[in-house]
């Protein structure tokens, strides 16, 4: 026999631990509180076996450079660490130095260099090293060289009255497909089959008119997003928590119809029970939580909007340099590398 008060306290403690509740004007239970000693009756000390039992990863969708997967049983701090590493600390190759031999186009040198830096280069960064500090020349182990040499000329065969630039001029649009790889040193032997080029061929870099030309040499180096956003390997990487919608009381008829419109399509479905229309939560995962339901006085107390605290729905979209699953594995390895670095320092540096 349990006192109702004790049961209510248990339920609210469980709720505080497992759910982040979205109220009308604010969000409650945001912070992680399941540390040892906070809750009597719960053993919260770190237990690797319990973590391994409860943890799971489900890949939902993997297509076209986008990977959507679920991580269940992990905490916000670690999930956020993975997201931050995906954005800022997974290395890639990008154009860093642009040697301008001739640029008579309308695009200024520095603007052209900036645009070239942002073009994603299809080159596996794991094959290259970081460039040493202060090294100006660049060796074959840390640099990729590209050349962009293009000149615009008038088309003598064009019709007299045409005003379409595609007919009048040759090479008036400079695309990323005009960037060609120039092997340095022994790169031609090291990478005989490799085809280093920009990921997309149709990135417009500059526009030219007859007589204008661009002749530049580019050095690509390995860098991280922390240094400059051009080195970030993801178009974006984000996560959200799994939504959890509970109906506190049965909702029927007209109220059920209104309730269905308050949420994203597919979240609430209406079933016909004994002639009455009853609302049921079909798929809470699809909801984007616009909180429209709080604008209806009659409905706002019938629903509890919450999120499951340890269920993360990650969405990683790659720029095309590396496939997204490789990016996630690299990010996890980078976090391990950071820990290892401090463990090594602890062992080597004497503590006073």
């Amino acid at each position: 026999f349990r006192l109702p008060v004790a049961m209510a306290a248990e339920r609210s403690a469980a709720e505080m631990r497992e759910r982040v509740v979205l109220g009308e004007f604010g969000v409650r239970n945001v912070h992680t509180t399941d540390f040892p000693g906070n809750y009597p009756g719960y053993d919260d000390a770190w237990d690797p076996r319990r973590f391994e039992e409860e943890f799971r990863v489900d890949v939902v969708r993997e297509e076209d450079g986008v990977l959507e997967f679920d991580m269940v049983g992990i905490d916000a701090a670690v999930a956020n660490a993975f997201r931050r590493i995906l954005l800022a600390e997974v290395p890639t190759m990008a154009v860093e130095k642009v040697f301008v031999y001739n640029n008579t186009s309308i695009v200024q040198d520095e603007i052209l260099a900036h645009r070239l830096g942002l073009v994603p280069i299809r080159a596996d960064p794991r094959l290259f090293e970081y460039r040493n500090q202060g090294d100006e020349e660049g060796t074959e182990i840390d640099t990729l060289q590209f050349q962009l040499k293009i000149k615009c000329s008038r088309n003598p065969q064009a019709a007299r009255e045409s005003s379409d630039p595609n007919e009048l001029y040759f090479n008036h649009k400079v695309y990323s497909k005009h960037m060609t790889w120039v092997p340095l040193g022994n790169q031609a032997d090291l990478f005989p089959d490799a085809d280093f080029r920009p990921v997309h061929d149709d990135i417009l870099i500059a526009l030219l008119r007859p007589g204008q030309e661009i002749d530049v040499l580019m050095h690509c180096v390995k860098g991280v997003g922390k240094d400059h956003a051009k080195f970030s390997p993801v178009a974006t990487a984000s996560y959200r928590l799994l939504p959890d919608i509970t109906l506190l009381q049965p909702v029927e008829d007209e109220a059920a119809e209104t309730l269905q419109k308050c949420f994203s399509p597919g979240v609430i479905e209406i079933q016909n029970v004994k002639g009455k229309k009853v609302a049921r939560v079909a798929n809470a995962r699809l909801d984007t939580f616009s909180r429209e339901v709080f604008r209806h006085e009659g409905l706002k107390n019938l629903v509890r909007l919450a999120r499951v605290r340890n269920h993360y729905i990650f969405s990683v979209e790659s720029t095309g340099i590396l496939p997204p699953d490789v990016l996630v594995t690299e990010a996890i390895k980078i976090l391990m590398g950071k820990c290892q670095r401090f463990l090594n320092e602890l062992d080597t540096v004497p503590m006073e």
């Binding site: 770190w46 973590f51 990863v57 489900d58 890949v59 701090a77 956020n80 660490a81 391990m336 602890l346």
Partner: protein, 98 residues
């Protein structure tokens, strides 16, 4: 890594070239340790990339121990996440092997 404090129980580690990425996740792992009375981190100034990571232990355990255990636990978590993730990416047939 620099450490200073009054006695072995309360130590502030200064971790260079780190930010919330390692700071928050390490703080979470150290807080899960029942011997730790206090654990927190702060970024001294946003222009400098270093964090002050402070651990205070109950009793007489030297503070380096929870720090080391936290790092090892975090490595264990990463390793398990990596393994689970890689198994999930394999096609159906091979998954039974793990």
């Amino acid at each position: 890594v620099q450490a200073d404090g009054t006695d072995g129980n309360c130590v502030t580690f200064v971790l260079h070239d780190e930010d919330h990425t390692l700071g928050n996740s390490l703080r979470y792992m150290v807080m899960k340790n029942p011997d730790v009375e206090f654990c927190g981190y702060c970024i001294t100034h946003p222009s400098e990339s270093k964090i002050n990571f402070r651990i205070q232990t109950r009793g007489s355990l030297p503070a380096v121990e929870p720090f080391r255990k936290g790092l090892n636990d975090l490595m264990g978590v990463c390793q398990h996440v990596l393994d689970t993730f890689e198994v999930r990416l394999l096609p159906e047939e091979l998954r039974g092997l793990f």
